[in-house]
C-alpha cells in the first residue's frame, strides 16, 4: 500500500467506512450518502475541466440534466420489458457526451471568459428544450423512475443494493478520472492550462485536447446525472438549470480546484448544507454567494488544497520561521493563476 499514490490510499481508507454505511442507517442515511456520491462524481468530472484544463464551464447542467432525462425516460417506458438499467445509464452518458461535443465544438473557438459565456448561453438552449419537449415533463419533471435490476439479477429498488452499486460506480469513476489526469493526455492538458502558447509551439493540437477534455468531462457528468436519477428516482427541471452548474462550481472551488479529493469534500459539504438549509429559500443563495466571495478572496486553493499546501510547508520546513511562511504564502500555487496569457 505504501507505493500507491496518495489519492488512491485515501480512497482505500475511506472505502471501509463507506462499505459499512448500510449497517448504520441512523448515522448516515444511505440515500443521502448516495446523493453525495453522485454529486461528488459530478464535481470530479467538473474538476477535470476547471482544475486540470483551466476551462470554466457554466453549462454542465445541460449534461447532468439531459443524461438524467434520457435514463429516466428509458427506464419509465422500457424497464417493464426488461430493458437493462446498465444500457439506460450508458445511453445517458452517450447523450451527455454528444451534447458535450456540440457545446464543446462551439465553445473552444474562444478562450477565457468568452468560453464561459458561450457555455452559459448554450446551456440556456438545453434548458429551453427541456421546458418545451413534452416527454421531459417540463416544469413537473419525471417521477417514480424505476431502478430496474442490475445484470438482470440484483433488484436495485432495495436501497442497500442501490447503495453498493452507486459506491462501485463512484469508485470506478474516481479511478478513471485519476487515471486520465495522470496519463500523458492529462499532462498535455496541464501544459495547455499553464502555458497555452508554449503547448502550441510544442506541437500540441490544443483545440482537440480541449474538446476531448470537454467531452470526457461531459461523459462523467452524464454518468453522475444518470446515477442521480436512479437514486432519487426523479428528474427535475432544476437539474438542467444554471444553478446546478454553479453548485458544482462551488463544490469544486470550496474543496480545491485541481485536487483529487477537493471536489468530493466540497460535494459532501454543499449537499449537507442544502439538506439542512433547504427551507430557508433566499438565505441559501446568500450563503452560497458569500462562500464564493470568501473562497475567491481568501482561500483560492480550497480546503483540500490549503491542507496539502500546509503539509508541504511543514514537510519542507522542519522549524518554520515567519519569513519562510510568508514566502510560501505568496507563491502562486492555485491552478488558474498561470493561465492568463500575455497579450
Amino acid at each position: 500500500m505504501g507505493n500507491l499514490p496518495a489519492p488512491i490510499r485515501v480512497l482505500l481508507m475511506l472505502l471501509v467506512p463507506a462499505l459499512l454505511v448500510p449497517l448504520f442507517p441512523e448515522i448516515a442515511y444511505p440515500v443521502f450518502v448516495m446523493k453525495v456520491l453522485c454529486y461528488a462524481l459530478f464535481a470530479l468530472a467538473f474538476n477535470l475541466l476547471i482544475g486540470f484544463t483551466g476551462l470554466v464551464s457554466f453549462g454542465h447542467a445541460a449534461f447532468f440534466g439531459w443524461s438524467g432525462y434520457t435514463t429516466g425516460i428509458l427506464m419509465i417506458k422500457l424497464s417493464g420489458y426488461g430493458f437493462p438499467v446498465e444500457l439506460a445509464i450508458l445511453a445517458g452518458m452517450l447523450v451527455a457526451t454528444a451534447i458535450g461535443w456540440l457545446i464543446g465544438t462551439l465553445a473552444i473557438r474562444r478562450t477565457g471568459i468568452y468560453f464561459s459565456m458561450i457555455t452559459l448561453a448554450l446551456s440556456q438552449i438545453a434548458y429551453f428544450l427541456a421546458v418545451q419537449i413534452k416527454w421531459t415533463g417540463g416544469e413537473d419533471g419525471m417521477q417514480g423512475i424505476p431502478r430496474g435490476k442490475l445484470l438482470g439479477l440484483i433488484d436495485l429498488s432495495v436501497d442497500n443494493h442501490m447503495y453498493y452499486f452507486t459506491l462501485a460506480v463512484f469508485v470506478a469513476g474516481f479511478l478513471a478520472i485519476h487515471r486520465i489526469v495522470h496519463s500523458p493526455f492529462g499532462q498535455s492538458l496541464k501544459a495547455l492550462r499553464d502555458n497555452a502558447p508554449r503547448a502550441v509551439s510544442l506541437g500540441y493540437d490544443t483545440d482537440r485536447c480541449k474538446l476531448y477534455a470537454f467531452m470526457l468531462s461531459a461523459a462523467f457528468t452524464g454518468l453522475a446525472g444518470s446515477m442521480k436519477t436512479l437514486v432519487l428516482q426523479l428528474s427535475a427541471l432544476n437539474d438542467v438549470m444554471l444553478t446546478t452548474s454553479t453548485e458544482t462550481l462551488l463544490m469544486t472551488l470550496l474543496g480545491g480546484l485541481g485536487t483529487s479529493w477537493g471536489p468530493v469534500v466540497g460535494a459532501a459539504l454543499v449537499v449537507s448544507l442544502q439538506n439542512y438549509l433547504a427551507a430557508l429559500g433566499g438565505v441559501v443563495t446568500i450563503i452560497t454567494g458569500l462562500t464564493f466571495i470568501v473562497c475567491v478572496s481568501f482561500f483560492r486553493r480550497g480546503m483540500v488544497g490549503e491542507w496539502e499546501a500546509w503539509r508541504r510547508r511543514r514537510n519542507s520546513q522542519p522549524n518554520p520561521s515567519g519569513k519562510a511562511h510568508n514566502a510560501s504564502l505568496k507563491k502562486p500555487t492555485t491552478p488558474l493563476t498561470a493561465t492568463r496569457t500575455p497579450t
Binding site: G54, I118, G282, T291, I293, S297, R340, T343
Partner: protein, 300 residues
Amino acid sequence: MFDIPMQSLMAQLLVGLINGCFYAVLSMGLAIIFGLLNIINFAHGAQFMVAAFLAWIGFTQLPLLLGPEFKLNFWVALVLAPLIVGALGVLLEKTLLKRLYHLDHLYGLLLTFGVALVLEGIFRHFYGISGASYDPPALLQGGIDLGFMFMPIYRGFVVIASLLICAVTWYLFEKTKLGALLRAGTENPKLLQAFGVNIPLMITLTYGFGVALAGLAGVLAAPIMQITPLMGANLLNIVFAVVVIGGLGSIMGAILTGLALGLLEGLTKVFYAEASTVVVFVIMAIVLLARPAGMFGKEK
C-alpha cells in the same frame, strides 16, 4: 404565415427595440468594465435589479416606513439609484475586486458571480420571487397614435433615453480627453501610469461608471418589466450572448449588436414565438462557426 397585420408587427418590433436598448446599455457597461479591469462583471444583472428595486422601494416602501414626504418619484430615482448602485460598485472594487487583478480573470468572474448571488438572495429573502410592479411617472403615462401603431409614451421615452445614454457614453469614450486616457489605459496601463496618470483611481471610477450604467438601465426598466430578484440574471444570460457576438472590444460594437439582436428577437416573436427566447443563442452559435472572433471582435 406572412400576412401578419402591420399593427402587431410594429408592436413586436417596438418591444424588440426596447429589449435591444437594454441589451445595448448593459453590454456597453460590460465592455467598458472589461476594457480596463479585464474582468467580466457577472454582478451586472444583479446591479441592474438592485437599481430597479431601489426605485420601487423609494416610491412605495419608503413612504410607508418614514411618512409620505419621503416618497421618491421616478425622476429622483433615476438620479439616485444609479448613484447608490455605482457607489456600491466602487466599494466592491476597492475592497475585493482589486485584490484579484494579478490573478487569472476567471477569479474576477467567480467573485462577481458570488456578489450577484448575495444580492439576489437578499432581495429574494425580503421581497420573495413573485415580483412587484411600478407605474410610469404621470408625465409619461398614456400614449400617442402614430397612425400605423399606438405608442405608449413611456416606451418611447425609454428608447430615446437609452439611445441618448449610449450616444453620450460613446462620445465620452471616443471623443474626449478623458476617453482618450481611458482607451490608453485599456491598451497599456503601465505606460500610462508612468506618465503620471492615477490608474488605480481610474479603474475604480470606471467600474463605478459601468455599474451605474446598469443601474440607470434598471430604473428605466422598472416600469416596463416585472421587478423580481431574477430580472437581471435572466437578462444577463442574453447580454452575454450579445457580448460574445459583438465582442467586448468596442463600445459602438456593443451598442449596435445589442440593438440589432433586440429587433431580431422582436421579429422572431412575430413569425415563430416559441423560438424567440433562444434566437439570440442560436445566432451566437452561427456567428461562432462563421466568425469565431465575433462581429466586431479582436480577440483579447
